[in-house]
Symmetry: C2
Subunit: 185 residues, 2 copies
């Protein structure tokens, strides 16, 4: 990728993140992004078709990073998946807690797209790790549903955590999650 492209792309992402921290997504205009990033109008449209397109790209970058990190972690110790603080979930929570930009975006007014990304990425992770286990424990319930429930519950818990001001430690929150999911995992 051309150095200029990388530079522009970075400037756009940076401007967009900055604006997202200030106001809800719906109130941000392409014009503002252009002005903040200090690039030409044409340049923006050369990189992204629409504002939604940009948001999607940002989503993917952020969650790819954090979820891949969790995924790699879990492969290192297969036997510690379910015990705090080594569980994959606890690791995820710790990562999240130190990722300010991500927290900001998740707590923002217009976090719908982020949540979708987060949930679907997490669901994939859970499917890879726990599918067979879930199938055995509850043969009569669609595994699909259980995975959806777990990823949904986790993300909802994170939202509750963030809205409360991240008062609990990652370990404590992980403990809550263990209790909630006790019959499943």
């Amino acid at each position: 990728m051309d150095r200029r492209q990388k530079k522009t792309r970075k400037a756009i992402f940076s401007a967009f993140s900055q604006l997202l921290a200030e106001k809800p997504y719906s109130r941000i205009t392409v014009q503002e992004i252009i002005d903040t990033a200090d690039i030409g109008r044409t340049t923006f449209y050369a990189h992204f078709e629409t504002k939604d397109d940009l948001l999607k790209a940002l989503c993917e970058e952020l969650f790819d990073h954090i979820l891949n990190s969790a995924s790699n972690h879990s492969e290192q110790g297969l036997y510690s998946l379910q015990t705090a603080p080594e569980s994959i979930f606890c690791h995820l929570l710790q990562h999240l807690k130190t990722n300010r930009p991500l927290i900001e975006l998740l707590s923002g007014e217009n976090n719908a797209l982020f949540l979708r990304c987060f949930k679907s990425g997490l669901a994939e992770l859970i499917r890879q790790r726990f599918e067979s286990q879930l199938q055995l424990t509850y043969p009569k319930i669609p595994t699909d549903f259980l995975i959806h429930h777990l990823s949904g519950s986790f993300v909802e818990m994170v939202l509750w955590w963030i809205h409360g001001g991240l008062k609990q430690s990652a370990e404590e929150l992980n403990h809550y999650f263990q209790i909630i999911c006790k019959p499943l995992l």
Copy 2:
């Protein structure tokens, strides 16, 4: 309230719902709502300040109805709260299944505001019914968190249900929910 006002308000809601079924909220313009509702531009702005304002009003109307219905139902039989199909949750699911417009809105691209309404309304309902019970079962976990978890899980389940094409019966889904929440309720 003036008969004309009621008529206009209804026309706006109707047009808006219709458009929401066709395209995501973000792609709907006030202009389109005006055209579809066949009202004057000024009239729209006399009723609602912005598009967001309208969405909020629609939300409240829809969920007030379904949640109040569930709330009343549960008061009739205090002993049947946890057993299918008389549980309050099952009743909610049955109501939902027959409410096409609501289903459409919940399954739409831009359902964030609806979900917020649904979740907060449901959380309130759960708090009223189960708060003390939850507190006794898990004294060490914030009740607030458990309520959030339950309402979140329920709504997520409904979303999964809808996206799958409402293939399961309300009773079946309620059964899933019981299993998921077994340790809590």
